[in-house]
Symmetry: C2
Subunit: 225 residues, 2 copies
DNA sequence: AAGAAAAACATTGTCGACAATGTCGCCCGG
DNA sequence: CCGGGCGACATTGTCGACAATGTTTTTCTT
């Protein structure tokens, strides 16, 4: 179907720099490219069989994501992961997701709320399969928070959390292994949050979400901070 | 002093793309480049006497700032300013600045608090010079909020607000002329916030800041939304 | 004449080369 | 032996040209 002259970057409506960006983002989040390590443009360009120009575009977008730090005429480094940064991240999450939860209680339709409950049922089954004290599935937890943010209807809020902060959260989880041992408690907190949303009680929903995130933060602080 | 071979981009420790970025950011914020208008890379490159490569770097950073929207193989457009976006912006500000205010109450030192009061005295004098119902100085208002955010000590929060959201706020103010007629009320609200910070009452400081921003939002919604 | 196909144009994405800066190692003087 | 200056190397910033896509205009057919 495709002619022999099909260019390498004519894929799926996204540019080559887009795909480089996504690949590198994944490698950084999962720690495949070590935190704090220096980025060599020529080396990466060779690894991905591309030119430096497109690679640099990807690097700049990673910088604006907060995953890289670039200094003029020096180069780019993957950000360091320190406890302070993680705690700061949770403070911002508390503020933003609290607001998102309030808005979700006002704006979510019934289908979206049902979807939330379905996610929780899935959690419950998986939790029963695993040991009672098993770590809380980061995947499912993310799904829960993700859906609430989407339900806020505030595009700026959605973009800030889902396209910016969450990658950093995942990076910390992967590399510092922040598996929360608060499985059962977190599950109950999630359920209460859904109840508040379904009751259209935005004020309560916000309070519960903030306490939920703050509890995680305190948990982290006790361990690492 | 400078030799004839001094390169154009060897200024002040920042790259040419950095300066292009700042220049364009200013022109977009102030409406010199109209909202919603299409960006022509060759045209701008000619205007700034630079190559397209450096210009594209600046454009990408503007995109990550939320001031431009780019589509692959089509080009970049300045974002449109609609009431919905402005209201969303204020919802995010309410959440983030509320948190910033809480943290500021916990972390600001006395010198910073004194600086806040000095800003307010300046406001008062300028307000007296102008008519009693005069619009609230965007400059001074920004200074007040700016300082509180700085005082939070949370680097992620500072970056998100000062290096990301505030440019959009300024863009709206310039172009939609959002001069708040709440001068005296806002001034009193600011003073109460400072009092709460000085009393190290983070909870109250957050509540007051949120109400302050929400009042502005309601004011805007009544007018435009 | 109206609509569609096609070609010409303009714009964007990508690439390799050059210029300038930072970095590392070596040599020299103290 | 140690510290500072100097030079070679590597890396980054910048530029102009080419390839591919989107857009507009022209032209041909019905």
């Amino acid at each position: 179907m495709s002619s022999v002259s099909t260019p390498a970057y004519a894929n799926g409506g996204q540019s080559l720099a887009d795909r480089l960006f996504e690949s590198l983002r994944g490698e950084i989040v999962e720690g495949n490219i070590a935190a704090g390590s220096k980025i060599s443009e020529p080396e990466l360009a060779k690894r991905f069989q591309t030119s430096r120009g497109s690679l640099r575009e990807a690097l700049m977008r990673l910088e604006s994501l907060g995953l890289l730090e670039r200094r003029v005429n020096v180069g780019a480094r993957v950000v360091e992961l320190d406890g302070r940064g993680l705690l700061e991240l949770y403070e911002v999450r508390e503020a933003l997701e609290g607001m998102a939860c309030r808005l979700a209680a006002e704006n979510m339709n019934q289908a979206e709320i049902d979807g939330l409950r379905a996610v929780m049922e899935e959690h419950e089954q998986q939790s029963e399969l695993q040991a009672g004290t098993a770590y809380f599935q980061p995947e499912g937890d993310f799904d829960f928070h993700f859906r609430i943010v989407q339900g806020s209807g505030n595009q700026l809020l959605i973009d800030t959390l889902c396209n910016r902060l969450y990658y950093r959260v995942r990076m910390y989880r992967y590399q510092l292994g922040m598996a929360s041992p608060r499985a059962k408690r977190a599950f109950r907190e999630h359920m209460h949050i859904i109840d508040a949303i379904e009751a259209r009680d935005g004020e309560l929903a916000e309070i519960l979400m903030r306490r939920h995130i703050r509890a995680s933060r305190n948990n982290i602080q006790a361990k690492i901070g």
